[in-house]
């Protein structure tokens, strides 16, 4: 019914939106519209619709108003106080508030992308089955069951060239065919939503913004493989995603889209959420299954692969959230269409979470094969605060760094691996000249050391030993043999570990040594940190030649260690300084070192 309404107000309510007060903004819209009788004034109904995350959380609350006369207008940073004004001007008077409109960056950010998987996110109400049905929801599964055999569904997936979006990049159709070929009455489908990579949040956005498309993707997989039960393993850090998905599952059971004899098609499919409990290693498929079974989430040796002997010893197919989200689009638009996107070896689109020192952080969906430079500069607006680009970290704790001189690497599975990084789940953390690469390596190692499950010695003890060396280096006690030691240990750990965590954990160190060896050497030989980051090695001061007397550092300093008056050079009182670097990050002119 809402589709016929003339005026739509879309309010972004993902985790980002809600924490910036989207609920208050929504309530205010409802209040103002009801109180003023806006529907009657403009002679049309105004629908306030909550949508999922559209991937630009830094600028929340985002509000889209769609009217016949003005088309779609986006306002950013909306607060509840402004709602009345927006309603008065935009909807009643029909004049766009030019000053409050999202600046051109917004259009650049959106237009440069190609949204396939994320079409629903930020456009439809994730909590409404009707909204999903209006977007051809559950048409794909209908098409599969009515017009295709399970084998032809798998063939279609193979033809599309879709590869697993969780990071491994294994061809999805192939994976399905293995599981379908294993004999057995009971089979399982698992959706891996244990998105543990720090810096990646596309799975969360999809679950929050378009939960029904995951359910449909899993149903199609279930039909193709012959599985009648599915689990979605969601990490417990995503309460909103769990809430929305649970709501969607409940509605599906109620309306007959899940359960016995799904949609009257004659096949059964049960789906339930399994909540994680805070262990990064559970993103590894065998550890994830151990966790569903109620055990410690420790990886098991492969083979046997899950397709043969998985959950409770039954054939199991595991795919990532983004992979399942692709499925319905492939069925609806055809494998040929999908295969026409992307590069030779990587088909379709990929969502990246671009974060760090970039102007516009957010989720970016682009066809595979776009270069890293285009993603960072064209879509996301380049580096924040007028600083120089140093590197981009791709693939999270398992990935590596891409330095400035190979920025034209295309984003596909194979090119990224060749560059020493990897696609991973698609996190791109941008670093500028103030980020120390040794510190970044140390950071990732701290993470993987903490998250190692402890099963294999190389990973459990080796990572700790490497971390000790890195800590020594960042504290100015590095020794000349350290780099070689790190390289040797890193290669051994990669070779001798059982699961993906151990096999990739040394990557951030190996790749930073490869491209930024000089920074390691500066720490070790000259006991200095070229990026002014490792605080044991630093003594802060203001550089008078560069200071523009703006006073930004004074505002940033939490301990009053900056002396500044209007028109005067800033001065740093070293006795009070706690070396927290607030001033350094606040200065746009690199006048503090």
């Amino acid at each position: 019914m809402s589709e016929n309404a003339a005026i739509k107000i879309l309010i972004c309510q993902g985790t980002g939106g809600v924490s910036m007060g989207a609920k208050e903004v929504e309530a205010e819209f409802f209040r103002v519209i009801a109180e003023k009788g806006v529907d009657a004034i403009v002679g049309k109904r105004c629908d306030v619709i909550k949508t999922g995350c559209r991937g630009l959380c830094a600028n929340d609350v985002l509000v889209d108003i769609i009217t016949e006369e003005q088309g779609r207008v986006t306002y950013d940073f909306v607060t509840a106080e402004e709602v009345e004004k927006i309603v008065d001007e935009h909807i009643v008077n029909k004049t766009t508030l030019e000053k409050r409109k999202a600046k051109p960056y917004y259009n650049t950010f959106v237009d440069q992308q190609m949204r396939v998987v994320m079409t629903g996110c930020g456009q439809i109400n994730p909590e409404s089955l009707d909204a999903y049905l209006a977007e051809d929801g559950f048409k794909a599964v209908e098409q599969c069951v009515k017009q295709m055999t399970p084998a032809s569904v798998i063939d279609e997936m193979k033809k599309s060239g879709l590869r697993g979006r969780g990071g491994g990049g294994f061809p999805t159709g192939m994976k399905w065919s293995f599981c379908a070929a294993t004999p057995g009455k009971v089979k399982y489908i698992i959706c891996n939503a244990d998105e543990g990579d720090p810096g990646a949040f596309m799975d969360r956005s999809i679950l929050e913004g378009d939960p029904y498309c995951i359910i449909e993707g899993m149903m199609i997989a279930g039909y193709a493989i012959g599985a009648t039960a599915g689990y979605v393993y969601v990490r417990a850090e995503y309460p909103l995603a769990i809430e929305r998905l649970q709501m969607a599952i409940d509605v599906c059971y109620e309306k007959g889209y899940l359960g016995k004899n799904v949609m009257g098609f004659g096949f059964d499919f049960d789906l339930r959420i399994k909540k994680g409990a805070g262990a990064f290693v559970c993103g590894e498929e065998t550890a994830l299954m151990a966790s569903i079974e109620g055990e410690r989430g420790m990886p098991r040796p492969r083979p046997p692969f899950p397709a043969v002997k998985g959950l409770w010893g039954k054939p199991t197919n595991i795919n990532n959230v983004e992979t399942f989200a692709n499925v319905r689009h492939i069925i609806l638009k055809g494998a040929d269409w999908y295969a026409s996107l992307g590069t030779e070896t990587t088909k379709g689109t990929k969502i990246f979470a671009v974060t760090g020192k970039v102007k516009h952080t957010g989720l970016v969906e682009v066809p595979a094969g776009m270069t890293v430079r285009e993603v960072i500069y064209n879509v996301c607006g380049g580096i924040a605060n007028n600083r120089k680009f140093k590197a981009v970290q791709a693939g999270g704790p398992s990935g590596g760094c891409i330095p400035a001189d190979i920025l034209d690497t295309p984003v596909d599975y194979d090119s990224l691996i060749k560059a020493g990084a990897m696609m991973g789940s698609g996190g791109l953390v941008v670093m500028d000249e103030t980020t120390c690469m040794v510190d970044v390596a140390r950071f990732f190692l701290t993470f993987t050391r903490d998250e190692s499950c402890g099963k294999c010695v190389p990973c459990r003890i080796g990572l700790k030993a490497m971390l000790d060396i890195l800590e020594r280096i960042t504290e100015g006690r590095g020794e000349s043999t350290d780099i070689d030691k790190l390289l040797e240990m890193g290669t051994t750990i990669k070779k001798a570990s059982l699961c993906g965590l151990g096999q990739t954990a040394p990557n951030p160190i190996l790749s930073t040594i490869k491209y930024f060896r000089h920074e390691y050497e500066a720490h070790i030989n000259e006991k200095r940190c070229p990026s002014n980051c490792c605080k044991e090695l630093l003594l802060w001061r203001v550089i008078p030649e560069k200071c523009v007397k703006c006073g930004a550092c004074l505002k940033a300093c939490p301990v009053d260690a900056i002396k500044w008056e209007k028109g005067q050079l800033a001065e740093l009182i070293i006795e009070k300084c706690t070396k927290c670097k607030s001033c350094y990050d606040a200065c746009r002119f690199m006048a503090i070192e």
Partner: protein, 174 residues
């Protein structure tokens, strides 16, 4: 820290005496027939009590027919299970990659400093528990902090003071 430890031991001993197992039994009843029910049961118990009290471990062991050692193994493996009572306000600071490069370290250190408790520790008066967490999935608002369910984006050292001042005023009762 000896005070906090002493307080924790004291509450633990007290808890062993008075813990009411009705809620735990209800959780077990709910999941009794589910395949792979150990984690949902433990999660349910933690939702009820705020942590997993020791008497409930024995109860779960008996009713689900698993060894207490196995339950203990699961509880200590996953970061989100707690064996001790937790503070009224759980402060979580994200130290994921995006937050790290945007200066999460100074936020963490300021909280340590102001609250006098470290990572995963609870203050003696049970008001605060502090945790560093890896990625809350809202990297666009880095650096990020959470108190219970409220999110605070673009954190600065100054905002830490404001948050603590705010929560110091709030009542201990839910």
């Amino acid at each position: 820290m000896s005070n906090a430890t002493a307080a924790n031991t004291a509450t633990e001993e007290k808890a062993e005496e008075v813990i009411d197992l009705t809620a735990a039994n209800a959780v077990i009843d709910k999941y009794l027939t589910l395949h792979g029910n150990l984690m949902p049961v433990l999660q349910g118990i933690q939702d009820e009590y705020g942590y997993v009290p020791k008497p409930t471990i024995d109860l779960v062991a008996e009713r689900l027919n698993v060894y207490p050692s196995q339950i203990f193994g699961v509880l200590t493996f996953y970061a989100q299970f707690h064996l001790k009572p937790r503070g009224r306000f759980i402060i979580r600071v994200c130290v994921g990659t995006a937050c790290h490069v945007q200066g999460a370290t100074r936020i963490v250190e300021t909280f340590f400093d102001k609250l006098g408790i470290g990572h995963t520790e609870t203050s003696a008066d049970l008001r605060y528990t502090f945790e560093k967490v890896a990625c809350l999935g809202a990297c666009g608002m880095a650096p990020l902090a959470m108190v219970n369910d409220a999110t605070y984006g673009a954190m600065t050292v100054q905002k830490v003071d404001a948050i603590i001042a705010d929560y110091n005023q709030r009542p201990m009762k839910k």
